[in-house]
């Protein structure tokens, strides 16, 4: 299993490099280059253009530029930005990464959690008005033109009702004298979520050995409550809390918008997956055993329906990232997507290529995580490994 995934990743990694190579030549073969920015200003003499071309290495033959690019990729600094010259591309991307990660993780987790629950319930309530309503709603949300939907959300909740800020990820007034940069706060938020996840994992791992369900449950509840209290206390005493709160407040609208669309997709998927699962013989077995319906739904059907939904996660990563770009653009969220968009408008090839490569890399990592998750969820695969 591990070897299988490894081999596949390696093959895909190699192909990815081939793709980047093609893309590099494709982009560099486009008409004109960044030195054209001076064309707009008649006061700047032509020498300036030559100096810039030389400085950016654009005067060299394409093949040398490519070698240089490969060198930059291998040393992980990805070259220098044209637009933010001479800032390394990697620095620009790392600056944007926590913001995108935060948006992406929150939206993905939320949409999966809520979407899965809804899909489960809807499949259970077949042919009821609730089901029909949810289905029609999900199909509309699933097929809605996302940028338009985002604008509508912004208009309605941001402008019409005035409940949420219009774009941006923080309120400058609160941050002028902030001892922290936004990324420090983002990182702390991500870190605390990670720590919480690890702690929760640890709680389950250690209580897992308690054989009897009742004391196990009690131990878990206690420990989880401790973790929760710990988190709350941490954020209450943390001097970062007001800044984190500001970011969280600005997050609500973009995350809700992004979540809603993927939530619909997950709901649709879970529903059909559930309906498939409900036809399985072991569901009948469970019924014959006298297992209560709710337990059948949650423990027997949903647990198995989760498997194809997890697989689909891989497919949806690309879509969530794509949606993320639109979200970042409409809600002025300066993450990777906005970086990419700004780079392409500024003809900043290194940043555009870097952002694309980085997004691709993120997608590959997410894919790997989904593969591992699948293996964890499905004993048939787990045991083989």
């Amino acid at each position: 299993m591990v070897r299988f995934i490894g081999k596949r990743l390696l093959q895909m990694g190699l192909l990815f490099i081939v793709f980047l190579t093609i893309l590099f030549f494709l982009l560099n073969a486009q008409p004109g280059d960044i030195s054209q920015q001076f064309v707009g200003n008649p006061d700047i003499p032509p020498e300036a253009k030559e100096i810039l071309r030389a400085r950016l290495g654009l005067d060299q033959p394409l093949f040398f530029q490519y070698l240089n690019y490969v060198k930059n990729v291998l040393t992980l600094n990805l070259g220098q930005s044209f637009d933010h010259f001479p800032r390394p591309v990697s620095e620009i991307l790392l600056q944007a990464l926590p913001r995108t990660l935060y948006l992406f993780l929150t939206a993905t987790l939320l949409s999966y959690l809520v979407g899965f629950q809804t899909g489960k319930l809807v499949a259970w309530k077949r042919d009821t008005p609730i089901e029909r309503f949810t289905m029609v709603g999900s199909i509309i949300l699933y097929t809605v033109f996302y940028p338009w939907f985002a604008i509508l959300m912004l208009w309605f909740f941001g402008s019409k009702l005035g409940l949420f800020p219009l774009g941006k990820f923080l309120d400058p007034e609160k941050w002028f004298d902030s001892p922290y940069t936004a990324n420090q706060v983002f990182n702390m938020m991500l870190l605390s979520a990670l720590v919480a996840a690890i702690l929760v994992g640890a709680v389950y791992w250690f209580t897992h050995k308690i054989v009897e369900p009742k004391p196990r449950q009690r131990a878990r509840r206690l420990l989880l409550a401790l973790v929760a209290i710990g988190m709350v206390v941490f954020w209450m005493v943390s001097p970062m809390s007001q800044y984190a709160a500001d970011i969280a407040y600005h997050t609500i609208l973009p995350v809700t918008t992004l979540t809603l669309v993927f939530y619909a997709a997950i709901t649709l998927l879970t529903r059909s997956s559930m309906l498939e699962t409900l036809r399985e013989d072991y569901i009948f077995t469970a019924r014959a055993k006298g297992v209560p319906e709710k337990v059948i739904r949650d423990r027997h059907a949903a647990r198995n329906a989760l498997l194809p939904v997890t697989t689909s996660f891989v497919l949806s990563i690309a879509a969530v990232i794509g949606g993320g770009i639109v979200t970042e653009s409409i809600f002025s969220w300066p993450g990777l997507g906005l970086t990419l968009l700004n780079a392409v408008t500024a003809e900043d090839i290194p940043v555009a290529m870097g952002a694309l490569a980085f997004i691709g890399f993120l997608a590959l990592v997410a894919h790997l995580i989904a593969d591992i998750l699948y293996a964890v969820l499905d004993p048939r695969i787990r045991v083989e490994s």
């Binding site: 093959q11 192909l15 893309l23 509309i140 604008i151 990563i317 392409v344 555009a352 997004i359």
Partner: protein
């Protein structure tokens, strides 16, 4: 998918009736049967109605331009048309009647930088709300929204057809070849497909679209290639694999059929029904991508729904909300409904193509 196979097998046995007649008859029969299955899904019928409606709009546009709007291209053309409703207003210090008077500031906005009291300035009215002349009003440049909407429907169909056809043709070939030959060819094609599947298409197209000039056709073919080598190829390959093991292939081989013959005559026809299904989903994807890229202003297309939204957004009318609803809703709803139409048809077709999903 059994239907096509039937056609194929039975066609081979025909003795006295001309082949095409039998094929037509079988096709008709299978169409009726499939339609019966298809129409079980109410959603599918809704999808057909929606797509039909847009098809009607797409056809209506050239007809209107040639009849009712003939000679009025300057007004109704979706791209260069502009309705010149021009009002004369007097420059005053205190505006009491905005329909005949204007402030100094407003005068300056028209390019009259040194306005004087009592000056008469002509101002056009745009965007105009819906009226008898413009059923859905005009955009910020005075262009007829309804005309743009119809024109956009045509663009959407063209794009959808190009993207879906090229994707499915490519995917069918790639899937069949990968399934039939296997080996390194399969590995290469499938890893490539995995990679494309994983890579977010939108950023890639954003990058390509902004550095290169991309029109409707180029975009259609680009989407077609990317998805034809990607997700669609994987699914069609697994389908081709299941067809590959069917006995008639061995029969064909025993009968002396070459590889290409078997792929073309046996594997591809059996993969086709599923291909058609994917064409539907392909259209949904392509129209989304087009509209999103147009929304970012990265395409060289004269007019599309995405550009309509882009225009009202860049001209600053989106946050007007309901006050300028004709700028906010028609185009956005069109993209949504169009995509939904094909999505619903696809879902309903799924039932026809996948017997597993039929109601028991």
């Amino acid at each position: 998918m059994t239907d096509v196979r039937d056609t194929d097998m039975m066609g081979a046995e025909v003795l006295d009736e001309s082949l095409w007649k039998i094929r037509m008859r079988l096709l008709w029969r299978s169409f009726k049967r499939n339609w019966a299955l298809f129409s079980q899904s109410k959603m599918g019928v809704v999808g057909v109605v929606i797509v039909g409606f847009f098809g009607f709009l797409a056809i209506l546009h050239p007809i209107l331009m040639a009849t009712a709007w003939k000679g009025q291209e300057a007004i109704y053309d979706p791209v260069i048309g502009a309705d010149s409703v021009i009002v004369e207003k007097t420059v005053v210090t205190e505006v009491t009647d905005p329909s005949t008077e204007m402030s100094f500031t407003e005068a300056m906005i028209t390019g009259e930088f040194f306005p004087e009291e009592g000056m008469i300035i002509e101002v056009p009215i745009a965007p105009a709300p819906p009226n008898a002349k413009h059923l859905l009003g005009t955009d910020p440049f005075g262009r007829d929204i309804f005309s743009q909407l119809m024109f956009g429907a045509r663009a959407a169909f063209i794009l959808g057809v190009i993207a879906a056809t090229s994707a499915v043709v490519l995917a069918t070939v790639v899937g069949s070849v990968a399934a039939y030959y296997g080996g390194w060819m399969d590995t290469w094609l499938m890893r490539q497909a995995d990679l494309i599947l994983l890579l977010p298409l939108l950023p890639l197209l954003i990058v390509i679209g902004s550095f290169w000039e991309i029109g409707l056709w180029q975009l259609g073919i680009l989407i077609g290639i990317l998805s034809g080598l990607g997700a669609t190829a994987i699914i069609l390959k697994s389908q081709a694999l299941s067809v590959k093991v069917k006995p008639f292939n061995d029969a064909a081989r025993v009968a002396g059929g070459g590889n290409r013959h078997i792929i073309v005559r046996h594997i591809i026809p059996n993969v086709l029904p599923l291909s058609f299904l994917f064409m539907m989903f392909e259209v949904t994807g392509a129209i989304f991508l087009e509209a999103t890229l147009s929304f970012f202003g990265l395409l060289s297309i004269p007019m599309s729904w995405g550009i309509m939204i882009n225009t009202s957004h860049t001209q600053g009318y989106t946050l007007f909300g309901l006050r300028a609803w004709w700028l906010l809703f028609p185009a956005g709803l069109a993209v949504t409904l169009f995509a939904a139409g094909f999505f619903l048809i696809g879902r309903a077709m799924d039932v026809v193509v996948n017997p597993r999903l039929r109601t028991r």
